[in-house]
């Protein structure tokens, strides 16, 4: 391909800027993107805790009680607090992007981006509320 041409008097040298390691710090939108990627770690963290909880449940009531105790420790609570913030950030940015992946049509008209994102938010909040209600009631 033309990526590495021979430099001759008739084909002068091209200048190629290289991307600095901290390229994403130069623009707010890029920093926001990197932050969204990083929040995936916390989403994975949540999933891991959940799997461990299932495992403890499988190991019997004592193991489960021990696990719950662990969850009540200040360290775990503060970690959960931090995770919650990142996971909410992750969800919001994700739902805002949903219209990019979804082109719905009703009759001849495109469903506007705001409606698609809005429906995602409504579903998210109502499912979360329902789950919270079921869990906290018990």
């Amino acid at each position: 391909m033309s990526a590495n041409p021979q430099h001759t008097p008739y084909h002068p040298r091209w200048y190629r800027a290289s991307m600095p390691i901290f390229w994403w710090m130069r623009r707010w939108i890029h920093a926001r993107f990197i932050l969204r990627e990083l929040t995936s770690i916390f989403v994975a963290g949540y999933a891991l805790v959940y799997l461990l909880q299932l495992r403890a449940l499988g190991l019997g009531p004592e193991a489960y009680a021990r696990f719950l105790d662990l969850l009540r420790s200040p360290l775990s609570i503060s970690l959960h607090g931090v995770s919650l913030v990142f996971v909410i950030y992750h969800s919001i940015t994700w739902f805002n992007l949903a219209p990019r992946a979804l082109a719905l049509r009703i009759g001849d008209r495109r469903v506007p981006d705001k409606v698609i994102a809005g429906l995602n938010f409504v579903a998210w909040i109502s499912i979360s509320a329902a789950l919270a209600w079921v869990t906290l009631k018990g």
Binding site: M1, S2, A3, P12, R13, W14, Y15, R16, A17, M19, W23, W24, R26, R27, I29, H30, F33, E37, L97, P99, R100, A101, L102, A103, D108
Partner: protein, 261 residues
């Protein structure tokens, strides 16, 4: 009319106000590293950045090189980085950037040939590779008439056909900057323009090129391409929808191997 607009150009906003343009200079026969050169340019109410560059070229320094043609956001040749944003210089008013200085550079992520001129062969080759034309299994004969299309079928792809190949989306895409092998936003949007065309039957051929790591899967959905696009093509949406449809196809193949292509 034409004379009128020339006269209009002479209307200086505030008495003799000037603004500094810091322009990226790279003259391969003289320097190995580019430099920024400052020029003082008068402020005119109706001047876009391209007018300021032309003022430099005509009155201050004839050696400055840049591309432009239509001066009305149609040809796609005047794309540059203005204060770090990929933008059409013919559609960016100087007044909106005051008090300056205004920094003008070549589009990022491309090799620079000279000053503000970039090398775009990489894009042209990628564009050709996705066969951006209507592919038919079998061409109808002329007697059979034209391929008909309803307005609704046209609406399916029209947005993606508005691309003017200005490459702003490539300059704004950090994935392309880091991985130049990435097919990139405009090419995928243009492939979708044909995939979604009711007259086209080439989606399978294009899929072989695009349903790959270097095709759609390198995209991490930064979304900047759609922000900078002057024609509202929304290439990010084209790529994400392509991801969705090829994932569905993959599942279809997995669950129903007998179901055709």
């Amino acid at each position: 009319m034409a004379v009128d607009s020339l006269a209009g150009n002479a209307a200086v906003v505030a008495g003799g106000e000037m603004v500094t343009l810091e322009v990226f200079r790279y003259r391969p026969e003289e320097e190995t590293e580019p430099v920024y050169q400052a020029y003082e340019v008068p402020v005119h109410k109706d001047w876009v950045v391209l007018d300021a560059l032309n003022h430099i070229k005509d009155h201050l320094d004839g050696t400055l090189s840049f591309r432009w043609s239509c001066r009305m956001g149609v040809c796609g040749s005047c794309g540059m980085m203005v204060n770090g944003d990929a933008t059409l210089t013919c559609a960016t008013f100087v007044e909106s950037l005051l008090p300056g200085p205004i920094r003008v550079g070549p589009l990022e992520n491309f090799p620079v040939v000279r000053d503000l001129i970039i090398e775009m062969n990489d894009f042209m080759e990628k564009l050709e590779s996705v066969k951006p034309w209507i592919i038919r299994d079998e061409e109808k004969s002329l007697e059979d008439g034209a391929y008909l299309q309803t307005p609704a079928q046209l609406a399916d792809f029209k947005q993606f056909s508005m691309c003017i190949n200005c490459l702003l989306c490539y300059a704004a895409c950090p994935v392309y900057g880091l991985e130049p092998s990435f097919t990139g936003p405009a090419v995928i949007a243009l492939a979708q323009r044909y995939n979604l065309d009711s007259r086209d039957q080439g989606a399978g051929e294009r899929n072989a090129i695009l349903n790959t790591d270097e095709g759609i899967w390198q995209c991490t959905l930064v979304g900047e391409c759609s922000v900078v696009c002057p024609k509202d093509v929304d290439p990010a949406a084209a790529i994400q929808r392509y991801k969705v449809s090829s994932t569905l196809q993959w599942y279809q193949k997995l669950l129903m191997p007998w179901s055709g292509k």
